[in-house]
C-alpha cells in the first residue's frame, strides 16, 4: 500500500512527464477507439433502417436432407397438421430427369404438384391446358424453346431409369424455374415414381407457423425472403473488419507501452537510487515501478477511450456538417466493445511495461 501511494505521488509530482506517458499510449488507444465508435454508430443506424421482419413464407423440407433432391417428407401426416392451421400451402415432388424430343435433350426437373393451386400461387400463364391424365404434362417455355416443342407435341422423359412419353398439354410461362421444367399433377407423379407414393420433396407455405413445432416431424421450416437476416449479416461482417483493424492497432499499444514505461523508468532512476540507499530490495523497487506503470496505463486507457469517443463525436459532427450528411446516431462504444478494448489494451499495456521494469530494477544504480 505504501509502495502504491509512493508510486502515485511520484507520478503526479511530475505532471509534464505523466502527460507525455499518457499521451503516448492514450493517443494510440484513441485511434483504435475512433473507428469502433463511428462503426457502432453506423451499425446502429443501419439496424434502425431494417424493420423487424415477420416471416410469412416458408419452405418446408426434410431437416436431414442435404439438398432439395434428397428431401423426402411423408405427406399424409403433414397434410393433416397443415389442414388444422390457417395456411396456404403447395406440396411438391421434384425429381431430376432427362427430357428428349426430336431436336435434342436436356437434364431438368420433373415437378409433381397440384398444378391449379401452384399456377395460381406463382401467377403462371399457360398456353394450352393443365394435364388431365397420366399421359399428359406441361412444359416450361424455355424448355419448349430449347427442344422446339409446341402444344400437342410428344416428349420423352427418363425418370429413375424408366422412359415415359407425354403429350404436351400446355406450355407455361412464369419467369421462374418452372420455365425449364416438366410439370405433372402430384397424383400422377406418385404413379410415375411408385417408390415415392405418398411422399413429397417440399412444401411452399404462406401463413404463420411455429417452425419449432414442425421440428419433431423432422421437418425444417426455412423462411423465404430473409432480407433482414442478409442485411444484418452484411453490416456485421463489414463492422468486424473495423474490429480486426482496431485490434491490429492495439498491438502497437504493446510497443508504445514498452517505450513509455522505459522512459518512465529512466526518469525514475534518481528515485530508484534513493530507494536502494534506504534498503529497498530489487523486488520492491520493481513493484514500485510496476505500480507507477500500472497507474499510468490505467489513466492512459481511460484518457485514450475518452479522447477516442470525444474525437469521434467531433469528427463525426464535423463530417456531417461538411458533407451535409443527415443526422446519424452519435458515435459511441457498445459495452461489449468497451470490454474488448479494456481487456486487450489493458493486458497489452501492462505486459508491455514489464520488460523495461525488470531491466531498470536489475540495473546497478
Amino acid at each position: 500500500m505504501i509502495l502504491l501511494s509512493l508510486a502515485f505521488k511520484d507520478l503526479v509530482s511530475e505532471p509534464k512527464r505523466l502527460l507525455s506517458y499518457i499521451l503516448t499510449v492514450g493517443s494510440l488507444i484513441a485511434v483504435a477507439v475512433i473507428p469502433l465508435a463511428v462503426g457502432n454508430a453506423y451499425i446502429q443506424q443501419l439496424m434502425m433502417f431494417i424493420p423487424r421482419q415477420d416471416y410469412h413464407y416458408y419452405l418446408l423440407v426434410n431437416s436431414s436432407a442435404n439438398s432439395l433432391s434428397d428431401s423426402i417428407i411423408d405427406y399424409k401426416l403433414l397434410e393433416n397438421i397443415l389442414n388444422l392451421k390457417n395456411v396456404d400451402y403447395s406440396p411438391q415432388l421434384m425429381r431430376r430427369c432427362n427430357v428428349a424430343s426430336g431436336v435434342g435433350s436436356a437434364v431438368t426437373f420433373l415437378r409433381g404438384a397440384d398444378l391449379n393451386q401452384l399456377y395460381k400461387f406463382r401467377g403462371v400463364s399457360l398456353r394450352g391446358r393443365i394435364p388431365m391424365n397420366l399421359s399428359e404434362a406441361n412444359v416450361g417455355i424455355l424448355l419448349a424453346e430449347r427442344l422446339n416443342l409446341s402444344v400437342n407435341d410428344h416428349v420423352e422423359v427418363e425418370l429413375s431409369g424408366r422412359r415415359h412419353v407425354f403429350r404436351v398439354a400446355g406450355i407455361l410461362r412464369c419467369s421462374c424455374p418452372y420455365d425449364e421444367e416438366v410439370l405433372v399433377q402430384l397424383r400422377e407423379a406418385w404413379t410415375l415414381i411408385p417408390d415415392l407414393n405418398g411422399k413429397i420433396t417440399l412444401v411452399e407455405l404462406s401463413g404463420e407457423i411455429d417452425p419449432q413445432r414442425l421440428a419433431y416431424l423432422n421437418i425444417r421450416a426455412i423462411p423465404l425472403q430473409p432480407a433482414s437476416q442478409a442485411v444484418t449479416d452484411i453490416v456485421e461482417s463489414t463492422f468486424n473488419t473495423v474490429r480486426n483493424w482496431a485490434l491490429a492497432i492495439c498491438a502497437m499499444v504493446f510497443a508504445s507501452s514498452y517505450f513509455a514505461s522505459l522512459k518512465m523508468c529512466v526518469d525514475s532512476i534518481d528515485r530508484v537510487a534513493v530507494l536502494r540507499s534506504i534498503g529497498f530490495s530489487k523486488r520492491r523497487i520493481a513493484l514500485f515501478l510496476f505500480y507507477k506503470a500500472l497507474t499510468a496505463s490505467l489513466i492512459s486507457i481511460l484518457v485514450g477511450i475518452s479522447i477516442g469517443i470525444v474525437a469521434s463525436q467531433v469528427i463525426f459532427r464535423a463530417a456531417s456538417l461538411v458533407l451535409s450528411i443527415e443526422a446519424y446516431q452519435p458515435p459511441t462504444l457498445t459495452l461489449s466493445d468497451l470490454y474488448l478494448v479494456l481487456t486487450v489494451v489493458g493486458i497489452l499495456s501492462v505486459t508491455g511495461s514489464v520488460p523495461s521494469i525488470i531491466r531498470v530494477a536489475r540495473m546497478r544504480v
Binding site: L28, E145, Q225, D233, W245
Partner: protein
C-alpha cells in the same frame, strides 16, 4: 569520427523497431482503407480495354438498376461495339444464413470481358437453369465446392432455387466474391421478367465509336425486330420468352466511374476520406515514434554534453541526425512491407470484408514511401529536439 565511435549502436535497434512497427500499422491502415475504396469502386472493372457500363439513369447504382434486354439488340448491332454482356445482379442467402451476390451472366458474353481461370470443375454452360460457378473468394468464405447443391433464397423476393456448383473460378476481379448463374436464374431470384436485366457491360473500339457517341447510338427503343444473330442461345431464348418492352432511360459510364459516382453520392466517401483514416492513425502514433529517438539521445546524454561543452553542436547534429534519418527511413520501408503483408494475410483469411466482398489491400509505391518518410521525419525532429535539450539536462544533472 570520434562521435560515431561513441554511439551505442545496439540502442539504435529501439528506434528501428518502433519506427518499423509504427510504419507497419500506418501502411496496414492505408492499404486496408484504400483497398476498401478500390474494392468498392472497382466492382465492375475488368482488365479488358474500353469497357462502359450501361444502366438505368434513375438507379442508385448499376447493380440495382433495371433495364430492358432489348438494349442488347441495339448495342450489339452498333458499329464499333465489340462485345456486350447483359447481367442481372441479385443478393441471395445460403442455407447457413450467409449472404452472397448472385450474378446472372451469359457465359459466352461475359468471357469477352473477364478472363476466367477455372480452378476446379467447369465453367457455366449457360444452357442449364440450375447450374452455378463459385468465385474463389466466395467458395473459401462460404465453404462451397464443385458438386455441392446449394439452396439460394432471394433477399428481395420470396423466390428460391437449388443450384449445383459446377466449378470454382478465379478472375482476379470482384466476381471472385460472387456466384455466377445463368441470366434467367438471377432474373428469377431478383424477380425480373425475361426481358429485363440490371446492366450491360459494353466493350467498344474507340477508333470506330468514341465513348460520347455510344450514348447517341442508344437512342431507340430497341425492341423491334428479331434478336441479333450474334446473340447466344440463352439470350435468344430469353428474347423469345419476352413480352413487351421495359422503357428505360439509360446512362453510360466507365466501369470505375459508375461506382465512384455511386459512392460519392450515396455514402459521401471518396479516396481522400480513406487516406484520412491512415493519417489519423499516423497522428496517433506520433508520440510513440517521437519517444524512441528521445530515449536514444538520452542514452548518449553524457557524450553529447561533453562534445557540446567543447563547441561541437554542429558535429553532433551532422553525425546523429543522418543516422536517425537513414535508419528510420529504412526501418519505415521494411515496416511498411510488413504492414502490407499483414493486410494480405488478413484479407486471405477473410478477416477484411466490406459487404459481401473481400477487401483486396491496395499497394502502391506511394504508401511505403509516405509511411516511411513521415515516420522518419518525426524521428529526426524528435532526435533534434532531444539533442538540443541535452545541454540543459546534462549540466543540471
Amino acid at each position: 569520427m570520434m562521435l560515431l565511435k561513441t554511439i551505442k549502436w545496439r540502442k539504435l535497434t529501439l528506434i528501428l523497431s518502433i519506427v518499423s512497427i509504427a510504419s507497419a500499422i500506418v501502411a496496414f491502415t492505408a492499404s486496408v482503407s484504400l483497398g476498401a475504396f478500390h474494392t468498392m469502386s472497382n466492382l465492375l472493372s475488368t482488365s479488358a480495354g474500353s469497357v462502359m457500363i450501361v444502366y438505368g439513369a434513375n438507379a442508385r447504382s448499376p447493380q440495382t438498376s433495371v433495364i430492358s434486354l432489348a438494349v442488347y439488340n441495339e448495342l450489339i448491332s452498333t458499329r464499333g461495339v465489340e462485345a456486350v454482356s447483359p447481367e442481372v445482379v441479385s443478393v441471395a442467402v445460403l442455407s447457413n444464413g450467409k449472404p452472397v451476390v448472385v450474378r446472372g451472366v451469359d457465359p459466352r458474353s461475359v468471357e469477352g470481358f473477364i478472363e476466367f481461370k477455372v480452378l476446379d470443375g467447369a465453367f457455366l454452360s449457360g444452357d442449364r437453369y440450375f447450374e452455378a460457378a463459385a468465385g474463389l473468394e466466395a467458395s473459401r468464405r462460404l465453404g462451397l465446392k464443385t458438386g455441392d447443391r446449394v439452396l439460394l433464397r432471394s433477399v428481395l423476393t420470396r423466390n428460391y432455387i437449388e443450384i449445383e456448383i459446377v466449378g470454382v473460378y478465379e478472375s482476379l476481379t470482384s466476381l471472385d466474391d460472387e456466384i455466377l448463374v445463368p441470366v434467367q436464374t438471377a432474373q428469377w431470384l431478383r424477380g425480373l421478367p425475361p426481358n429485363a436485366v440490371s446492366m450491360m457491360r459494353v466493350k467498344i473500339d474507340e477508333e470506330l465509336l468514341p465513348r460520347q457517341k455510344l450514348s447517341e447510338a442508344l437512342g431507340g427503343e430497341g425492341a423491334g425486330g428479331e434478336v441479333a444473330s450474334k446473340a447466344s442461345r440463352i439470350i435468344s431464348l430469353l428474347f423469345s420468352a419476352s413480352t413487351g418492352n421495359i422503357p428505360s432511360r439509360l446512362v453510360i459510364r466507365e466501369a470505375s466511374e459508375s461506382m465512384q459516382e455511386f459512392l460519392g453520392r450515396e455514402t459521401k466517401l471518396n479516396e481522400a476520406s480513406f487516406w484520412s483514416i491512415a493519417i489519423l492513425v499516423f497522428a496517433g502514433s506520433i508520440s510513440t515514434i517521437a519517444l524512441t529517438p528521445t530515449l536514444f539521445i538520452l542514452d548518449h546524454a553524457r557524450e553529447i554534453s561533453i562534445i557540446k561543452s567543447i563547441g561541437g553542436v554542429r558535429r553532433i547534429q551532422s553525425a546523429v541526425l543522418p543516422i536517425v534519418l537513414v535508419s528510420s527511413f529504412l526501418a519505415g520501408l521494411a515496416g511498411s512491407m510488413m504492414g502490407y503483408l499483414l493486410s494480405k494475410a488478413f484479407s486471405e483469411s477473410s478477416l477484411l470484408v466490406v459487404g459481401t466482398y473481400t477487401i483486396k489491400p491496395a499497394m502502391s509505391m506511394i504508401i511505403p514511401l509516405v509511411s516511411a518518410g513521415l515516420t522518419s521525419i518525426v524521428a529526426v525532429v524528435a532526435a533534434k529536439i532531444a539533442t538540443d535539450s541535452v545541454k540543459t539536462e546534462a549540466w543540471i544533472g
